[in-house]
Amino acid sequence: MTSIGLPHFLIVGAALFALGMITVVTRRNAVGILMGVELILNAANVNFIAFNHYVEGPGKVTGQVFSIFVIVLAAAEAAVGLAIVLAIYQTFRTIDVQETDTLRQ
């Protein structure tokens, strides 16, 4: 058995990305789709930090800087996205994305 290395983390990231994509593709609940997007962003972050650790080397933090930016943008995306979901629920009384396919009522 070999020790834990870069491929292990990349495989975890790949699994996270695939599961997030499945969530985005199959959910009809708008909040569920947002949760899938969060999973995909987390997968990207895992890859960023794994590359920072194993490829970029000691003393360099570029990958972590990018991961922080991703976390910040994910927070902004969640706030705006969920506000939009609430507004959609206000208008249509449902958040099923197969029924809310127009921009106005």
Partner: protein, 279 residues
């Protein structure tokens, strides 16, 4: 009749307990006080007789064990038990200890911790993807986020790990739960069924994705550094934000402000309308 029946039961129960005590006590005495083997075997046989006679009051009452049958049957049962004990102690036990030792020699603790975190992450994400109830999806997202934070710690990224816990678990997950609860009336079915075709198609898509990405991750010749460091990174991160990444840093703060104001503006209408409505 009932009281004598009860007394008979109690006698049987007492004999059963005495037999158990004799069996275990003789074994312990043999083990720790060097009771002679023949005496031990005799005591345990007698204990077995007592146990079977006591048990006969509760099980297999249509076949009463009395006289010679009881003693022969006890001998047979004792032989079987003796063989089983011998087998467990002399053959299975050493094999178990041996294989456990080899397993511990093979696996390192850090690897086990990594696999625990990876399993937590992937299972949480799978729960989010496949759970029928959106509330359960949100809660399994918690495990996925915490597992990812653990992976960050594993990668020597302390600041992103803490930021992950604070922002994802403390902020985004709470927002998601609020959104779920605000978009559901009580009593409404929280499940939102997926189309019949969605899960097979999505599963196939996910399998292809994870297969391709894993193949690439294993096969690509990454230029891995020899000795990755596990030093704290917060100071270097702060310096990087205020020197090399100053412009993105400022831009992202403006983006956050805009998102904050935008979210309030978009969601505010709802609060007004509901508060105006008479309940």
């Amino acid at each position: 009749m009932a009281s004598s029946n009860l007394r008979a039961y109690l006698v049987r129960l007492a004999v059963l307990l005495a037999g158990l005590f004799l069996l275990a006590g003789a074994g312990l005495l043999h083990r720790f006080a060097q009771l002679p083997t023949a005496l031990t075997l005799l005591a345990q046989y007698l204990g077995m007789v007592g146990i079977l006679w006591g048990l006969n009051a509760f099980f297999f009452r249509r076949v009463p064990l009395t006289g010679v049958v009881l003693f022969v049957f006890s001998g047979a049962a004792f032989g079987v038990l003796f063989f089983l004990g011998f087998f467990l102690q002399e053959i299975v036990g050493p094999w178990l200890i041996d294989s456990a030792g080899r397993f511990i020699g093979l696996v390192r603790l850090t690897d086990l911790i990594f696999y625990a975190f990876a399993l937590m992450t992937v299972l949480g994400a799978a729960g989010c993807a496949f759970s029928g109830n959106i509330i359960y999806s949100a809660w399994s997202l918690l495990f996925a986020f915490m597992g990812v934070a653990g992976l960050y710690v594993f990668l020597g990224a302390d600041f992103p790990a803490v930021a992950q816990v604070l922002i994802y678990v403390g902020g985004i997950l709470v927002l998601i739960l609020f959104a779920i609860m605000l978009t559901k009336q009580i009593g409404e079915d929280p499940k939102l069924t997926n189309a019949h075709l969605a899960l097979p198609v999505g599963g196939a898509l996910g399998a292809v994705t994870v297969g391709t990405l894993s193949y690439m991750a294993v096969m690509a010749p990454w230029k891995v550094v020899a000795a990755p460091s596990y030093q704290p990174v917060s100071a270097a991160l702060g310096v990087a934000f205020l020197t090399d990444y100053l412009l993105p840093f400022e831009v992202v703060s403006v983006v956050l402000l805009a998102a904050l104001v935008g979210a309030v503006v978009i969601a505010r209408k709802e609060i007004k309308e509901t508060s105006d409505q008479p309940i």
